[in-house]
């Protein structure tokens, strides 16, 4: 097409938007599944699952020390091993913003330093549905896919810049979790 062509942009009809809002979130992108993220962040390592279900006391302590109060009841944690030795921790976490729910993975070195962060899945909606518990529940146990097709699945969104503050807060909470529960594990 010509760059200055007549169809440079199209308005999305309001009626279509309203229907979409009732049925599906405005946008969801899956970047990596858990296994692919593990291999990207710790190539060649093996992973031993240690899901951590917090006691009420532990939840309270983590919330107090990190200043972040809302999080999942069970944290998905893997011990990372290479050649018989621990080489780090791999943690999957979720955070909620006003319009978005983000699943992400953090790679920690054995001493609890953040090595890398990958967003696994980003769900964005509008109108505040993300805060609705029923809306959130529909994604519990959701399986991940990992490939996107050009033009079909790809959603590119431009608006006023979203802050990644919720992920930063989530990582702070995970580092407290490490300090309290993993460091001496």
């Amino acid at each position: 097409m010509s760059k200055a062509g007549a169809d440079w942009f199209t308005l999305i009809p309001v009626a279509a938007v309203a229907v979409a809002a009732a049925a599906v979130p405005a946008s969801a992108t899956v970047y990596l599944d858990i296994q692919a993220a593990q291999q990207t962040m710790f190539p060649g390592a093996s992973f031993v699952a240690h899901p951590l279900t917090f006691t009420p006391e532990q939840r309270k302590a983590i919330a107090k020390a990190s200043g972040v109060g809302i999080f999942e009841k069970t944290q998905r944690i893997w011990e990372v091993r290479s050649g018989g030795a621990r080489t780090g921790w791999f943690i999957v976490d979720r955070v909620l913003g006003k319009h978005e729910m983000i699943t992400y993975a953090v790679a920690l070195s054995p001493d609890g330093t953040v090595k890398s962060v990958e967003i696994l899945e980003y769900r964005e909606t509008y109108g505040g549905e993300i805060r609705n518990p029923a809306w959130r529940r529909q994604f519990v146990g959701k399986r991940f896919g990992s490939s996107v097709q050009l033009g079909k699945d790809i959603k590119n969104i431009s608006g006023a810049t979203l802050s990644s503050r919720h992920v930063t807060d989530g990582i702070r909470r995970l580092l407290i979790t490490y300090q309290l529960l993993l460091r001496n594990a």
């Binding site: 097409m1 999305i12 990958e118 980003y122 909606t125 790809i154 590119n156 810049t161 979203l162």
Partner: protein
């Protein structure tokens, strides 16, 4: 196509490319811009300018110098509508960016106090340079250079709405209203970039702090330009100067705005189809 996303530059940076090894290099390029230009990191080039450049010349990385040069170009072209020094002072005063321990409160109110000679930077008086209004776009441009030099033939980089695509594809981009994130328009970009800036209340996100003042008829403005850095700067100029932004743009520049009432307003597209 592979697609990855990491939290960087205070937002989400998304890379779409046809080669895995290229993606890692792209994030390295973006992380480098983050390290050099972040006002939050005390040892970044930008923070060293803000701490010391009123006392002595500060030597910066060539990438920092090239972004400063472009920022000064747009400040001059726009008669100060885009002004990284005025924006920095406002950002400090509103608490958006921190003052480091040995950093003086900013006195300078204009880009004219900022002097760049090669890689050497000086401020005529204490001041706070904020490149937040343009650095995300610059990072996107660096990312595209990294993708191309890694051998990718097509790709797209989106740093919090600052987007650049390349290759034979035409990339669809959905423009959303700043507060509600409701989609209002769909734009197609080819081998070019688009940026959107808008007014968000403090705490809701980024964007308001660099625009220099409220615009009382738009909530956001989107600009398409050959590079993401220029598109980014032009959104700020459009915010301040309205439709007059077109006289600054050059070939290929197009723009649209979302009004307070949620309507989409074309700024320079007489060819635009409104239905």
């Amino acid at each position: 196509m592979l697609r990855r996303c990491r939290p960087l530059l205070g937002t989400f940076v998304e890379v779409t490319a046809d080669r895995e090894d290229a993606i890692e290099r792209v994030f390295d390029a973006v992380a480098q811009v983050h390290r050099l230009m972040s006002a939050h990191e005390p040892e970044s080039d930008l923070s060293r300018i803000n701490r010391f450049a009123h006392l002595q010349p500060v030597q910066v990385h060539p990438e920092t110098a090239s972004l400063l040069e472009r920022a000064l170009f747009w400040a001059r072209e726009s008669g100060g509508a885009f002004d990284p020094v005025r924006a920095g002072k406002a950002a400090v005063e509103h608490g958006f960016i921190p003052l480091h321990a040995d950093q003086p409160g900013p006195a300078a109110t204009s880009w004219r106090c900022l002097k760049l000679q090669g890689r050497s930077v000086r401020l005529d008086m204490s001041g706070c340079v904020d490149l937040g209004g343009i650095a995300k776009g610059f990072a996107v441009d660096r990312a595209v250079v990294a993708l191309r030099s890694a051998g990718c033939e097509r790709g797209l980089v989106n740093a919090g709405g600052d987007i650049r695509g390349f290759g034979p594809e035409v990339w669809p981009v959905r423009i959303v209203e700043p507060m509600s994130r409701r989609p209002v328009a769909q734009v197609r970009i080819a081998d070019e970039a688009m940026a959107t800036s808008g007014g968000l209340p403090a705490g809701e996100g980024l964007g308001f702090d660099h625009l220099g003042g409220p615009n009382d008829w738009w909530t956001s403005v989107s600009v398409v330009a050959p590079t993401a850095c220029d598109a980014d700067a032009l959104t700020k100029i459009a915010w301040m100067r309205g439709n007059a932004v077109l006289s600054f743009g050059g070939p290929g520049v197009r723009a649209l705005a979302v009004t307070r009432g949620g309507e989409v307003e074309s700024i320079n597209a007489p060819e635009m189809a409104l239905a």
